[in-house]
């Protein structure tokens, strides 16, 4: 163990490696119900060269490596908790370069330590915006969010389930450096850029797209050292429409029309408690607002830019109203008690106060993907099993071809006696949903076994083949997904 630590010190320097037990212990737990082992060291590399050396060392002397990017100790879902002895945490939070912001090509190149809180203001200065997950935490890594395939709130700019991730530089489990998409070359990044390239095509090189197998792999295939991330132009005028109904299907039908004709930018459906959590901080305010709202809320934002901004919003609003009338849904309540600015803040800005923790101080989220027809059925399953302190968030994805459903179980982390029941409830609901065919496409620790047991053998075999190619010695985050062997 000392040998490993000394080697890590030799690679990254004394200041960038630690075997202090108090520090190490913080990596053995997170906000999930998973308990991890205490890692043997944590190391903070500064560049891809150091990461290559660490992974080659891991292959040669045999230790596991778990990449993380968060500078805070707040982590979720158990995916970065050591499951094996002899684990080194590769903390990428010191790789904080915003390598380039390219207004012309609407793309940013960032290292893994760059957070939403740091990047969003810099982009705003250039009239640009990220494709954001719903009100992300300020200290969350932009790159990790994209690698996790976290849902973004603008379905019409979600051209592929991989968006907004574009090209990456990655060190595979073998310790080999690679660049995906057009970043692969020919030529170095500088040489490519000299010719006008901007690393905006994620596909390839040639007949394969390795970025797709890195994404969603929970750090078990490769360590990404930078990525290009898709941007959009910042609107100059925005109009928020908030429709309320006690009937979820009414709002789903209206949303479907928006998706079909690619109207509106941000589109989200939130149950009253979750919407209140999103725009209020204090629990009393949250409950007060929640009680004043209908159970289901569809929020969509019309955006315009430049001298015809208002014309664009106007034509879209009128066209949408016609369609809603055709659907005979024009009786929906469109009087919002929420300030438009507060909604836009939640949709456009990061937050220092995680919105899912605002009501009770803690939460466990259950999320999966499904189709239009089955959303109400899954809502009904969960509502029967969790009658209180439940938040629901529905996000259309990928041009409206699928839907992300998230159920948040809110609880008081100080009430230790209640936690076993919460955990049991979390597991029971998850199992019921998996059994009913909810597609847990991001199967984190507590779900993985059951999700893969309910998935085809051929998929598992294929995934294991891929793992064997890029991480043959299983050094990267062993034990996640179906990579138990």
């Amino acid at each position: 163990m000392n040998d490993i630590f000394q080697n890590l010190v030799n690679i990254c320097g004394k200041k960038n490696a630690s075997n202090n037990l108090d520090i190490l212990k913080t990596y053995s737990e997170d906000c999930s119900f998973v308990s991890g082992k205490i890692p043997i060291s944590v190391v903070w590399p500064k560049n891809s060269k150091q990461i290559e050396e660490i992974l080659k060392l891991a292959n040669s002397i045999g230790f596991s490596v778990i990449p993380t990017s968060s500078s805070s100790n707040v982590r979720y879902h158990g995916d970065t908790l050591p499951k094996k002895d002899n684990t080194v945490i590769l903390n990428l939070s010191k790789m904080k370069n915003i390598v380039s912001i390219d207004r012309k090509n609407r793309v940013v190149m960032v290292e893994p330590g760059v957070t939403f809180g740091e990047l969003i203001p810099k982009l705003k200065e250039k009239g640009l915006r990220l494709l954001l997950p719903l009100h992300p935490e300020s200290d969350k890594s932009v790159l990790t969010s994209a690698l996790k395939r976290e849902p973004i709130t603008i379905p019409r700019y979600h051209w592929d389930s991989s968006d907004p991730l574009l090209c990456t530089e990655v060190v595979f489990g073998t310790g080999d450096l690679f660049r995906t998409g057009t970043a692969a070359g020919p030529g170095t990044i500088k040489q490519q850029q000299k010719r006008g390239a901007a690393q905006v095509n994620p596909m390839g090189p040639t007949h394969f797209s390795p970025y797709r197998v890195i994404q969603g792999a929970q750090g078990s295939i490769g360590v990404v050292t930078w990525a290009t991330v898709k941007l959009e132009l910042l609107p100059t005028v925005q109009k928020v429409i908030h429709l309320q109904s006690e009937n979820l299907q009414d709002l789903l039908d209206v949303q479907q029309i928006l998706l079909k004709y690619r109207y509106a930018d941000e589109i989200v459906i939130l149950q009253n408690l979750n919407l209140a959590c999103l725009v209020k901080i204090e629990s009393t305010q949250i409950l007060e607002l929640s009680n004043s709202l209908a159970k289901w809320n569809l929020i969509y934002v019309l955006s315009g830019r430049g001298k015809f901004a208002n014309d664009k919003i106007s034509y879209q609003e009128n066209d949408i109203n016609d369609l809603i009338q055709e659907l005979k849904k024009d009786n929906l309540n469109n009087n919002s008690p929420i300030n438009e600015k507060d909604i836009l803040t939640a949709l456009k800005e990061p937050t220092a106060f995680p919105w899912r923790s605002r009501l009770k101080g803690a939460y466990q989220d259950i999320f999966f993907i499904t189709n239009f027809e089955r959303i109400s059925e899954f809502v009904s399953i969960v509502e029967k099993m969790a009658q209180k302190n439940l938040g629901t968030y529905i996000q259309a994805l990928n041009q409206g071809t699928s839907y992300y459903c998230e159920f948040d179980l809110f609880y008081d982390p100080g009430d230790e006696s209640a936690i076993p029941d919460i955990k049991q409830n979390f597991m029971d609901i998850s199992s019921k949903l998996i059994e009913a065919g909810a597609f847990f496409n991001r199967p984190y620790s507590l779900w993985a076994k059951e999700v893969f047991a309910n998935h085809s053998e051929e998929t598992i075999t294929a995934l294991k083949k891929v793992k064997k190619i890029f991480d043959p010695n299983n050094i990267l985050n062993p034990g996640v997904l179906c990579f138990d062997d």
């Binding site: 020919p186 030529g187 010719r195 040639t206 797709r212 699928s402 309910n454 998935h455 190619i469």
Partner: protein, 525 residues
């Protein structure tokens, strides 16, 4: 021909009427468009025939495909699958092969109006699917190859740029659930389709990593990684109203132009101006076609015969033309988009030649809506093929185009390829201008040896130029020779690709002439 006992086993799978190993049929299947110059590039005789397959087999179900692939593994015979079959990529690279012609797998499995996607089998054409999708106000992304090509082939196995790419993206990025017979005979169902409970087609990624990453890249494996039997693909809003009234005869059909459609062709006058204006048009999200084409290509897209092409010399003088076609569902939308375009024209002092200097035939608008502009490339010589095919930022594509002009002119001077002043190019944006692609359509005479050789040499030199000048990888970097040439300059990607091939095709039965082999033949010996 197949050994009699082996033939019998294949016959038992599909029935004797759906397999033929006779000389006539197998030789017919050895022909394909552009095979002659590909042969020449590979050091073979420049004839339009590939290796002759041992047999041609026509399965009708996924299970039959699976059994055929299993037999191929048993007898170490390579298979080459084809659907609508356009081009040399459908051809076997060895005579120890059979062709799987998937034409009997021709069903639209479903059009899911609510979830905005369709599921199709291999032999459904783009036109066929679009006609059905239009009933719901929807359309499908079709590649530059045209509406007669198979969307399944384009989405899973080929390249994927199309004329409507600004609003329908790239084939590879529109893939949802996939049913895939792997080279070892197992059936892999991607994403939500692989679930044991309630499988469905709505997403092709996960659980965990997306196996779409090994299925294809910027280009597909062209049957080198198995056979795709069904695919879920996104549908997009049809750009105008879906009334499609056409009468008369080919090629100049009478077409009732939809109410809200308008075309713009203008000269951006410089490369810089072209880049700037193309990006600007895309930022405004007004066009369902935003294509830069050369002056000669402007002449071609408005022509329906060689004489018609020659008549339009006046249009050929445009230096840096941009074609924008906008459509709208409502008058409000149409007025808004026109207002934005007029503003751009005024700001950059541009003159729209459509309906001022030239009034297109109405059928031109049908071709825009049906993504059928590509066929005009055949008018001049009857044969064309594209060099290049790189995709990244607009500036890279334009540099690749500019750099190619002197090279092309060299071959024009040699009278090997048709004279387009060296400028022949098509460049489109994707996904509202997030990335771009350019290719250099080049016209040649497929029946003239000098022209065929010239075309092959030009392609080869163009590839080398792109490599040396770091202009991105063209889309026809395929086969062992080219991968071995390019791989070392591109992070040694070829080594990783070979590992994938070895892991998923242990017996090397999926024909890899247009993909990569796990090991080169020489190494096996």
């Amino acid at each position: 021909m197949l050994d009699k006992d082996i033939l019998k086993e294949f016959q038992d799978v599909v029935g004797p009427e759906f397999i033929d190993d006779g000389d006539v049929m197998t030789n017919i299947y050895a022909y394909n468009w552009c095979t002659e110059f590909v042969n020449y590039m590979e050091g073979k005789e420049p004839i339009p025939f590939s290796s002759v397959p041992k047999a041609v087999i026509l399965p009708s179900t996924t299970e039959e495909v699976q059994k055929i692939v299993q037999l191929c593994n048993k007898y170490k015979i390579k298979f080459k699958a084809q659907s609508t079959g356009l081009g040399p990529w459908n051809q076997p690279s060895t005579d120890n092969s059979i062709i799987l012609d998937l034409r009997r797998m021709n069903k639209i499995v479903k059009i899911d109006e609510k979830n905005l996607y369709a599921v199709v089998e291999s032999y459904v054409s783009g036109a066929q699917l679009q006609a059905e999708a239009m009933k719901y106000g929807l359309t499908v992304h079709m590649p530059g190859a045209g509406p007669m090509a198979s969307p399944l082939a384009s989405h899973t196995s080929m390249a994927g740029p199309g004329f409507t790419s600004p609003q329908t993206g790239h084939s590879a990025r529109n893939v949802l659930g996939v049913e895939w017979v792997l080279p070892d005979g197992n059936i892999l169902r991607l994403g939500s389709l692989g679930q044991k409970n309630n499988p469905d087609w709505f997403i092709g990624d996960g659980p965990g990593p997306s196996l779409r990453g090994i299925m294809r890249g910027w280009v597909g494996a062209k049957s080198g990684i198995g056979v795709f039997t069904k695919v879920g693909i996104k549908l997009f809003p049809y750009p105008t109203d879906t009334k499609f009234v056409m009468t008369g005869h080919a090629p100049l059909y009478n077409f009732e132009k939809p109410d809200y459609i308008r075309a713009y062709v203008f000269d951006c006058k410089s490369w810089k101006g072209l880049e700037k204006i193309m990006l600007r048009v895309e930022e405004e999200e007004v066009g369902f076609i935003v294509s830069h084409i050369s002056g000669l290509a402007v002449m071609a897209i408005f022509s329906y015969s060689i004489e018609g092409l020659m008549d339009k010399m006046a249009l050929g003088v445009l230096k840096n033309p941009l074609l924008v076609v906008m459509g709208a569902r409502t008058k409000r939308e149409f007025d808004y988009k026109q207002m934005v375009m007029e503003d751009i024209l005024t700001e950059y002092d541009l003159e729209n030649i459509v309906d001022t200097k030239y009034v297109p035939e109405k059928v031109f608008y049908a071709e825009c809506l049906r993504a059928n502009l590509g066929y005009h490339g055949f008018i001049a010589t009857g044969g064309f093929q594209s060099a290049k095919g790189q995709a990244d930022a607009a500036a890279l594509c334009l540099r690749a185009e500019k750099t190619n002009i002197p090279l092309k002119q060299k071959y024009i001077k040699k009278e090997a390829i048709a004279n387009d002043f060296g400028e022949g190019a098509w460049m489109t944006s994707y996904e509202g201008g997030h990335f771009f692609h350019m290719e250099s359509p080049t016209m040649f005479n497929q029946s003239d040896l000098k022209s065929v050789k010239g075309m092959a040499n030009y392609m080869d030199e163009s590839n080398k130029q792109d490599l040396i000048k770091h202009l991105g990888a063209p889309f026809f970097i395929e086969g062992d020779k080219l991968h071995d040439e390019w791989g070392p300059h591109m992070m040694n990607y070829h080594n990783w690709l070979r590992k994938i091939k070895a892991a998923f095709d242990p017996n090397g039965v999926a024909d890899s002439g247009f993909y990569i082999t796990a090991k080169k033949e020489g190494e096996n010996k």
